[in-house]
Subunit: 388 residues, 2 copies
């Protein structure tokens, strides 16, 4: 039987998601001469509609160029297929004679693969290849796309800290992350010294108190002459409601088709600015919502991230040969390698920031968190000590 | 008489302002062995307070490290000295035996130097060395700091465009720039092809109409399947009032000591988002305010910018030797060189985006604007054509 691989990309794009597409495509062509590779346009939505682009004969040079281009070259989708949607996907996969379906994405994408494997009954190998800047896949040490986004955050906070050393004040940078704080803690990856930013870190995993926040900002400001804060968009109060829900008037909240409140807008930033105005009147306070800037930024595409994403794609083909599963980057004995883990162990689950990644009593990152980033994101820049 | 150079840094920092500090310091040491170099902490504020750091014997290696570190190593200030403040500066300069004062900054800094030269009466050489990401100094082809900030903007819009090609929608990126639109037009510097972002550009120099905006967004969306917009924070309506003033409730506007409305917050972004919600109901629309991220971002420090900033500092010492003035980077016969221009021709003036940098009938950049950026910011990245 001729092998036919279908490949799709889902969810929010990253700087290196096309590396995984290229890695998988080239690996199929190497292993199975004569096999077909079909790319689904805009993820499962393209499969359902029978909307494919044939990658079988695409020149390798062009695939390498695609690999180095950020965001999802095939297009992406936010669709989360239910059982009926999955039936339509299956029918389309069978119509094109698919023997394997590699879906590149996060935990929702793994969830889709899990539904499909249960509905299909064994004639197609279903593979989830990892991708997310949130770094929130269980079974993974880290995820393709995370290091590049983390490098953006690390460089941004390093630079903002120098800016606010020159013109003192309070600064809050709000970082994507609904349930997991990994990307926000990356703000501390390139701290110059103990006095460097971020002076405070707020993640979804630790309850946010507005009063404690103001006290901590005041204290950091008096100690360092400035206070730089990294905050996840998904910070949540002790009542379990997001700070956005608690601080923003209900008529200004936007919800998606799944009922999730949109966190990526400017609402949280404006609310935090108001908190600072009320709690520390007269202070110079600035809030930036980083929004989409870190997600697939070509300026901070990390070479290790790119290579690991490519290898994850190639390994997805090996995973298909072994019957399917989820690819996880795992770390052991000083190196990172892709491994096969069960789809069910990844699907729909969220990996949270380990409890010991923050200091117990202060909103500062801990030594284990620092060690994690020193391994993933070695310092790229050497800075001078301040003169002033 | 022993030469004594005082050097200060003013206004918003840039990625390369310390190159100018290092260039001037090393040039003094080369030209005038035995001369003193004093850095003023936090600009004119440090001079008034007699707060200096001695750079005379700082090892060259350390100065080179400072040069490569973004933001103002000496600290900066937003003070705009009046006559009395200038008298205090003059007294302090005389107390330390200053023979020259090099002030690195924008048009306000040139203004300070102009007041000082009139008050001093000839015993001290006053020099303005250029620095601004706004690129708004008259007599300059471009200003140190601009190219690096422009590279951030160019890369960001390139990346956002790819993101929104994968997940279609409307995106507005709001860019610093109160009176001049240069930095906003840099969004178009690395357009991949005619269909690439930014599809619309709004600068302070061209009147903004909310109705026309919605019509143009609708048209671009139907043509490209997405619409990416670059907008200056200082966009202004036909009535001469900024869009921020017109769209944001007065009690939410913040003013500085000079009565200027703060534009760098999220207010404009929220107002534009509301415009899009009302004008194009149901559309996926996202607005990011870039805020401080482009200003001194280490990830996009440009090598040409760094070298030109260093040379502008060295040339400031030559300018002092010739009695003082403002340093301007001018372009002729295929190369950029620093030149001396009168302080009065730069002080307090704003250079605007040339009229022919936008197409006459559409909010798109023109061929002359494109040629300007092709000269300043050669393409750094080669992208693949889309598959989807």
């Amino acid at each position: 039987m001729t092998e036919t691989f279908v490949i799709a990309q889902g969810g929010g794009p990253t700087a290196v998601i096309n590396q995984t597409l290229a890695g998988a495509t080239l690996e199929v062509r190497k292993r199975y001469p004569g096999a077909r590779v079909l790319g689904a346009k805009h993820g499962v939505r393209g499969i359902r509609a029978g909307n494919f682009v044939d990658l079988t004969a695409l020149p390798e040079q062009q695939l390498r160029l695609i690999a180095a281009t950020p965001s999802a070259a095939l297009g992406s989708t936010r669709d989360k297929p239910d059982a009926a949607y999955c039936e339509a996907i299956l029918k389309s996969l069978r119509d094109v004679g698919a023997t394997a379906f590699i879906n590149i994405g996060g935990n929702d994408t793994a969830g889709t693969q899990q539904i499909l494997v249960e509905a299909a009954g064994g004639d197609i190998a279903f593979v989830h290849a990892p991708k997310t800047i949130d770094n929130d896949l269980v079974e993974s040490d880290h995820t393709p796309g995370f290091i590049s986004a983390a490098e953006f955050i690390a460089g941004a906070f390093l630079s903002i800290d120098l800016d606010f050393r020159a013109l003192p004040g309070i600064y809050v940078g709000i970082v994507m992350g609904r349930h997991a704080g990994f990307l926000t803690t990356a703000a501390a990856a390139w701290q110059h010294d103990d006095a460097s930013a971020p002076h405070l870190v707020y993640v979804p995993e630790r309850a946010f108190s507005a009063k404690r926040f103001i006290d901590d900002v005041r204290e950091a400001q008096s100690r360092h002459g400035r206070c730089i804060i990294a905050m996840s968009e998904g910070v949540t109060g002790e009542d379990g409601r997001t700070v956005v829900e608690n601080l923003v008037p209900a008529d200004r909240l936007e919800r998606d088709a799944h009922g999730n409140i949109r966190l990526s807008g400017g609402e949280l930033g404006m609310a935090i600015e108001q908190l600072l105005r009320d709690g520390l009147p007269g202070a110079r306070a600035r809030v930036d919502t980083f929004g989409y800037l870190p997600r697939g930024n070509i300026a901070t595409t990390n070479a290790t991230d790119a290579q690991e994403a490519f290898e994850a794609g190639a390994f997805a083909v090996e995973t298909a040969a072994r019957g399917g599963g989820s690819v996880a980057l795992q770390y052991a004995d000083g190196s990172t390698r892709p491994q096969i883990v069960p789809l069910a162990s990844v699907a729909g689950k969220t990996r949270h920031l380990p409890h010991d990644f923050l200091e117990p009593e202060r909103n500062r990152i801990s030594a284990p968190c620092r060690a994690y980033f020193e391994r993933l994101l070695p310092k790229r820049f050497t800075l001078a000590d301040p003169l002033a």
